[in-house]
């Protein structure tokens, strides 16, 4: 009994400790640092996204986890063990490559079963697991096809099945949907999420598409120039970005510069703005208000109520079908982006370029940033 209890406790401790831990990892190629003192924990069973513009080092991180690159400094722990000395072919981690990297001389079955064949699995076992995987990615009956007989979407699913067949501790996905067209990509995003939930495997996805990261991931690490900018859930990153850079990188935003007054309001070129969440901020320091376009109201009459109200002129309208993005020129010549859903049948005709409008938003609609 005592032993059992201890084991259970150990298990609990295992579950709580992160599955993957980057500890102050730095990677330099020559004199160029691709990753700089990067620390991050990824939990068991998480769908984790590494997001950033191209060249931010996210793929390098993934390749270090797979073992194709070694950190110049710092450690990478998998299940609390340093994996630095473990060869790529011995890591319990599998990767789905951006180019899929399917073996052109093997059939679909040959590709999917490749990993198991390296483990001296029996013929029957391999064929059973391959059939299982083909069903998982809905490619039944395609087993004997050659790779060059498959469409892009089918190849993507073969690559996914091949990387899952060994039941990896972590599945690494390097821009897995980048080669698919938009419609297929949207469908596949939901399939990936469903698959991850069903298997319970930890997925780490690298993407430059912020929309994709927000849809699929439980948590996102936003990166820039090899540094971690913010780690949080998608909604936190969108609603509570920790810097102007993150606010600007994720979605549309208008940023207003100003200073915190003694009363806790913000003085800006647009006048005194009522803001929330400045209790900790020092008065007098420069701060920035980040405002999402869909949180701003627009009307032709001056609205009533405890709102920030600013007049302006519509300079441009971007019609997107579901919503329209209005660029409104304010008194200080700056532009503010406003998004309105085209609810009515003729919603777009509500405002037109050149209209004089009032923009308004409650004090807690924006985020005050000090960096």
């Amino acid at each position: 009994m005592a032993d059992g209890g201890e084991a259970a406790q150990n298990n609990a401790a295992n579950e709580q400790s992160p599955l993957v831990r980057f500890e102050a990892v730095t990677k330099r190629f020559g004199s160029v640092a691709a990753i700089e003192s990067f620390s991050l924990d990824i939990a068991h069973g998480e769908f984790f996204a590494l997001l950033g513009p191209s060249g931010c080092g996210k793929t390098t991180l993934l390749r270090m986890l797979a073992g194709f690159e070694t950190p110049t400094e710092g450690r990478i722990l998998l299940d609390r063990e340093d994996i630095d000395a473990v060869q790529p072919h011995r890591r319990p981690v599998n990767m789905m490559f951006q180019s899929y990297a399917l073996f052109p001389h093997l059939t679909v079955e040959g590709n999917i079963g490749f990993g198991l064949r390296q483990e001296n699995a029996t013929r029957a076992e391999i064929s059973e697991r391959v059939t299982e995987m083909l069903a998982l990615v809905r490619l039944q009956g395609f087993g004997r096809r050659r790779i060059d007989q498959l469409s892009g979407g089918q190849r993507q699913r073969v690559a996914l099945a091949r990387s899952l067949i060994k039941r990896p501790r972590v599945l690494l996905l390097d821009e897995p949907l980048a080669a698919l067209d938009k419609k297929l990509r949207a469908e596949t995003q939901f399939e990936l999420m469903e698959l991850q939930r069903r298997l319970g495997t930890t997925f780490v996805i690298v993407t430059h598409d912020q929309e994709e990261a927000m849809i699929v991931a439980d948590r996102i690490a936003v990166m820039n120039h090899g540094r971690l900018m913010q780690v949080a859930t998608p909604s936190e990153i969108y609603e509570r970005p920790n810097s102007r850079w993150v606010a600007d990188f994720i979605g549309e935003v208008t940023i207003v510069e100003g200073r915190i007054s003694a009363s806790g309001a913000m003085d800006s070129a647009l006048g005194r703005l009522r803001v929330a969440g400045t209790s900790g901020a020092k008065s007098g320091g420069t701060v920035w208000l980040a405002l999402r376009p869909e949180k701003i109201g627009m009307s032709s009459e001056r609205p009533a109520g405890e709102l920030n109200k600013i007049p302006g002129t519509i300079s441009e309208i971007g019609y997107r079908g579901d919503i329209s993005i209005y660029k409104v020129r304010l008194a200080d010549r700056s532009l503010m982006k406003v998004a309105l859903a085209n609810v009515g049948v003729r919603g777009n005709a509500l405002f037109k370029a050149g209209d004089l409008v009032w923009l308004s938003w409650p004090p807690d609609a924006g985020v005050v940033l000090d960096s």
């Binding site: 060869q87 790529p88 599998n94 990767m95 990297a101 001389h105 490749f114 390296q118 990387s163």
Partner: protein
Amino acid sequence: MRTQANRRNWGARLVVLVPYLWLLVFFLVPFVIVLKISLSQTALALPPYMPVFDFAAGWAGLMEFTAQLSADSFRLLSSDAIYLLSYLKSLQIAAISTILLLAIGYPIAYGMARAPRSWQPPLVMAVVLPFWTSFLIRIYAWINILQRDGLLNDVLTRLHAIDAPAAWLSSDTAIYIGIVYSYLPFMVLPLYAALEKMDETLLEAAADLGCPRWKTFWLVTLPLSLPGVAAGTLLCFIPIVGEFVIPDLLGGSETMMIGQTLWTEFFSNRDWPVASAIAVSLLGLLLAPILFYERLQQRSLEGSR
């Protein structure tokens, strides 16, 4: 509009015709002439065979001409063992040389394909560099190296690898050295082309799926380079079978490759029909590998589409 389209169409057809015209004039016509000579009889005349086709003789002349053709030369080829042995020797030397070329050429091509990108053009240049000197001069240089007081014996004695100078020249070893040396670029270049275009992420994918490096070579690299192996093998094997200069200059008198036998029949014995029969049989012998090579080319063309 229509005439213009037609004219363009004709232009396109003409362009397609050019290579066929080339083959007709420079391959098919000479081949038919050789075939005709192989079916003729030796004669002490000029040209040294008969019958000679005479356009002026008309239909009757053509009938008479056809009646005089015979397969005597081919019958001679199959009855005298010297020809059969010559063919077999040529096939043996070609086969062994091709295996040696593959064994030496593959590592070279592999090393070139895995070298840093910026090194590759100079490396390719180094492989083709021997072509800048005449082939004949390079073979003469080998005579110099291989002869009794040549460079090879000199180096080996100084290294105390051998006590007395060995006889390298006029042996099969010398033929193999000469052939492997001369044909190496024809083996390395197709292998390099096949290995170089291979996607390196495939190697990473194999490693990722639990395959150690040495096994990745057998499971991924080698199968994917097989078109290059086939191209290099045939590109070397086919011309080596008919090789004349190298065995003649480096080989001993007891070794007769089919090219040498042909030369002897043609120039020493002045037996043009038998010489032509040897050439026609050689072509027949090499037709199988040539057709195989064509098929491979076709398939790789379709594959890349």
